[in-house]
């Protein structure tokens, strides 16, 4: 964990403080529209980013359809859509591959 560069994640955190209230319950994964066809899972994205697995996380982020069901269902009221948009704005695909 100590070797993980969380600079980008901290940026996301600053924009979306609610990201830290995630308790990885998996409701978002269960309802995910894209998850019906792929291994997309919002819960996993957060966990991966926290652990520095940026490349894997980005692969999942690309599959999101922005439908917003995860936001409707989230038991912690996290604005998942905006977190996802922030990730696509802040993380750079090239840099991590």
């Amino acid at each position: 964990m100590d070797n993980v560069d969380l600079k980008l994640f901290n940026k996301i955190e600053a924009l979306n403080p609610d990201i830290n209230t995630c308790m990885a319950c998996g409701l978002c994964t269960a309802t995910c529209t894209a998850g019906n066809f792929t291994d997309m899972s919002f819960r996993k994205i957060i966990l991966m980013l926290q652990r520095g697995k940026d490349k894997e996380a980005i692969e999942l982020v690309k599959k999101c359809m922005m439908c917003g069901k995860c936001m409707m269902i989230c038991s912690r009221g996290i604005n998942t859509r905006n977190i996802l948009l922030s990730i696509t704005r802040i993380y750079n695909e090239e840099q991590n591959i």
Binding site: T33, N36, F37, M65, C67, M72, R81, L85, I87, T88
Partner: protein, 617 residues
């Protein structure tokens, strides 16, 4: 013999020339900023008789009579009409009067002065005129006085509105800085000054009931004082000059801009760029009246009223604070109430979407996995595909899968109505693309739309029933499903009831109906759901229905709004809906249903559910 020129007209002449030039240059700039295709469309629309006639009608109705404000708030409607129509008529009648009785008649004047006199003579006609007693002259001066009185009565209401907004039916009004206050003051004083100036000289120039009898006899006591009179003429001219000079930099720019906006709108143009062409016409047309503040659901949270359309447009216009503009763009719920209430019909949502399109996302979406998706029902054998032509296709949409009550009820209704139906996405669907469009990622949305179109066309059905208004909107606007009739389930159920295909027992339950934004305001589907509910139970009135229905708070239009802020909106909307003690809240959107259900003290149901209850009961 009266003079034909006096230096006091100069401030007016100079400022008027400036305003005219400014507006003409601005107009040409906007027209050149339009995309080529749009520009051609616009110019063509000016020539065609049919659209030209519509242009004329709309210009008269909207710019002069302000019919849209009349409909919502009669007092404000009168205020605007009296000032706009009154002023316009004073200019027109003034021109006719000055042509008919021109002091330049029979005189040899240089060309330049003749041109200039065309500008100032109609405005300051009384100063240069000598009273004529012919009937024609009397009618002219009566008309001029009548319209002057009309304007002054309008200004009186404007002063009341400023002091006590509640008296004219407004809770909150826009806040202005010193500059706007100054322009407004100059506008308010133009006509009282004109009245004083014209009255002071009425014994020479003549006048009618207002200037001659009330003004000259009462205010000036029947005495003519040349110095005093000159002071008023100078003040009148300077005041006009202040107003005209500041007009392009103030909200009063809406007066000339509105005319251009109406022409552009009638040509069928839409905003494509947030700061170019059509959007500029819209931005300058905003009169900052603030009617959108009271209706905006965001205003429920105290400080959020600063994000409403009027402040958004003002921030763009100022050209500074790009960050603020971006934040406001991303916060908006896109419910469309501000557009509904806007007297100028400024479609600020289109500017917001255009603005969102500008955001740069480093990571691009990758929907290659959709290519593997051959058919929604992968479990179903693909044998009866060709026999679907008479079938009704049911597409629940991804959101409805979160509320299985809706899909179950719809399945039941289809069966009870003996409909030959197919549940296309029973195993889950891909998103319709509307949420993606709302984030401004149009190309990504197009990928989803293309895939859905392909899958729906494959089924060969001719009728498509949708359960989600979000889908409905994008299906109607973006999908190219030639020959397939698209219905929302409220419309479909209403059709079934009207054709006696469903036998519903009427109960005495009281229902409050919530109009989803994307169904009501977007497509005007207000009556169908109400007809359905009328057949099931009693419909109660909410505080604001139909086109003024409030957002549920769950809208996916907003990108950044937090759950706490959303909850405030939801609570308020529920309060509005339960005004007349209904037993249940009924809505027609899975998103609204889910949002209300979390916070509502009474049960929230989809319209399809209560239909099924009525069928079983």
């Amino acid at each position: 013999m009266r003079p034909i020129f006096d230096p006091f007209v100069l401030p007016f002449v100079i400022s008027m020339t400036f305003v005219l030039l400014y507006c003409i240059i601005g107009m040409i700039r906007i027209i050149f900023q339009l995309p080529k295709e749009d520009r051609r469309k616009f110019l063509r629309s000016l020539i065609y008789p049919k659209s030209a006639l519509k242009n004329f009608r709309d210009l008269v109705n909207d710019c002069l009579f302000h019919t849209k404000i009349w409909k919502r708030k009669p007092l404000l409607g009168y205020m605007h009409m009296s000032i706009a129509l009154g002023w316009f008529m004073i200019i027109i009648v003034g021109h006719f009067e000055s042509i008919t009785f021109s002091p330049l008649r029979g005189l040899e004047v240089p060309f330049m002065q003749k041109m200039m006199s065309n500008l100032y003579l109609p405005i300051f006609f009384r100063y240069f005129a000598i009273e004529e007693l012919s009937l024609k002259a009397q009618i002219f001066s009566f008309l001029m006085d009548f319209f002057l009185l009309m304007i002054i009565s309008g200004i009186f209401i404007a002063v009341v509105k400023k002091k006590k907004p509640k008296k004219v039916g407004m809770k909150r009004v826009t806040k202005f800085g010193i500059k706007e206050d100054m322009v407004r003051l100059s506008l308010w004083t133009i006509f009282p000054l004109r009245f004083l100036a014209e009255s002071s000289i009425a014994n020479i120039a003549g006048g009618s009931f207002l200037t001659k009898y009330l003004g000259f006899e009462l205010v000036f006591g029947g005495n003519y004082n040349e110095t005093l009179s000159m002071v008023f003429w100078w003040l009148y001219s300077i005041d006009l000059a202040i107003f005209m000079t500041l007009l392009p930099f103030s909200r009063y720019m809406h007066i000339p801009a509105e005319a251009l906006l109406i022409l552009l709108r009638n040509a069928g143009l839409k905003t494509t760029e947030p700061r170019k062409g059509y959007a500029v016409a819209e931005i300058y047309s905003c009169p900052s009246c603030g009617l959108c503040i009271d209706v905006c659901p965001m205003s429920e949270v105290k400080d959020n009223y600063k994000n409403t359309a009027v402040y958004f447009i003002r921030n763009i216009r100022k050209g500074k604070r790009r960050r603020d503009v971006k934040n406001m763009t991303e916060k908006c719920l896109m419910c469309g109430k501000c557009i509904e209430v806007c007297p100028l019909g400024i479609e600020s949502l289109n500017i917001k979407i255009a603005q969102r399109k500008k955001t740069y996302y480093k990571i691009k979406s990758d929907f290659s996995y959709l290519e593997r998706l051959q058919d929604y029902k992968t479990t179903r054998p693909q044998d009866d595909l060709s026999a679907h032509s008479q079938k009704t296709l049911y597409f629940a949409g991804c959101m409805s899968h979160l509320t299985p009550k809706i899909t179950r009820s719809m399945t039941k209704i289809f069966k009870l109505a003996n409909e030959n139906f197919e549940f296309l996405d029973a195993d889950g669907s891909i998103c319709c693309g509307r949420p993606m469009m709302l984030t401004g990622k149009i190309n990504e949305a197009k990928a989803l739309i293309a895939k859905n179109t392909e899958l729906i066309k494959k089924s060969g059905a001719k009728k498509l029933v949708l359960s989600c208004p979000i889908c409905y909107k994008v299906f109607k606007e973006e999908y190219q499903l030639d020959g397939i009739e698209i219905l929302h389930h409220t419309q479909y159920i209403n059709e079934l009831i009207e054709n006696d295909k469903l036998n519903i027992d009427r109960s005495d339950k009281r229902y409050a109906y919530h109009d989803p934004c994307e169904l009501g305001r977007a497509f005007g589907i207000y009556d169908e759901p109400r007809n359905v509910i009328d057949n099931i139970g009693l419909l109660t009135q909410g505080k604001s229905d139909r086109d003024m229905s409030a957002c549920c708070g769950g809208s996916i239009g907003s990108l950044t709004m937090s759950m706490e802020e959303r909850d405030e909106i939801t609570k308020n909307t529920i309060k509005d809906l339960t005004l007349n003690q209904p037993d249940e809240i009924v809505t027609a959107c899975p998103l609204c249903l889910k949002t209300f259900a979390r916070l509502s003290p009474i049960e929230v149901k989809d319209i399809a559910e209560i239909v099924v209850e009525g069928l079983e009961g």
